[in-house]
Amino acid sequence: DVKVTQSSRYLVKRTGEKVFLECVQDMDHENMFWYRQDPGLGLRLIYFSYDVKMKEKGDIPEGYSVSREKKERFSLILESASTNQTSMYLCASSFPSGEETQYFGPGTRLLVL
């Protein structure tokens, strides 16, 4: 079974704090993704990585950065958290063909006060 794990299920942070969300997958997938999930907006892609140290901006990268130092780990960083970044964050991974299934983590619900 593919396992995608995320470091926290729930996180409460204050405005201006630096926030790290960690994602680890155990299937040797090349592709990893960070999405945010908001009611009425569906899933929106924040960043995508297709290999170690490689990254691509998604649809809403502003206010976020990412790090992929190892193949199995993909980190999302909120440099200075703001209240409009309160959301559910989902990590996913897949093989590179594009037709492959994306496997999702359980999500991190982030509340920024």
Binding site: G40, G42, L43, G98, E99, G105
Partner: protein
């Protein structure tokens, strides 16, 4: 811009009734299309993909290129089908998905 439209935020049906979750996409060509599902307190997971032409949990989805639609159908809804459903075509360039806004399916007994 590539767009995916799921016009219904909420679809409520009775157990045993037919279900159709609508999905329309805006771009040309023959995209690969997927339906993902999220049951309560579970992670998002693949339900089915167009290329496989399979039926999963009684659901099927047909690609209609003329109408650019990929509606998800099931002839007889079950209570355990209650979930959030996302239509997700593959982007025209690159191996990334575009997700619709999602439709909540509620099956009443």
């Amino acid at each position: 811009a590539q767009r995916v439209t799921q016009p219904e935020k909420l679809l409520s049906v009775f157990k045993g009734a037919p279900v159709e979750l609508k999905c329309n996409y805006s771009y040309s060509g023959s995209p690969e299309l997927f339906w993902y599902v999220q049951y309560s307190r579970q992670r998002l997971q693949l339900l089915l993909r167009h290329i496989s032409r399979e039926s999963i949990k009684g659901f099927t989805a047909d690609l209609n290129k003329g109408e650019t639609s990929f509606h998800l159908k099931k002839p007889f809804a079950q209570e355990e089908d209650s979930a959030m459903y996302y239509c997700a075509p593959l982007r025209e360039y690159g191996n990334k998905l575009v997700f619709g806004a999602g439709t909540i399916l509620r099956v009443k007994s």
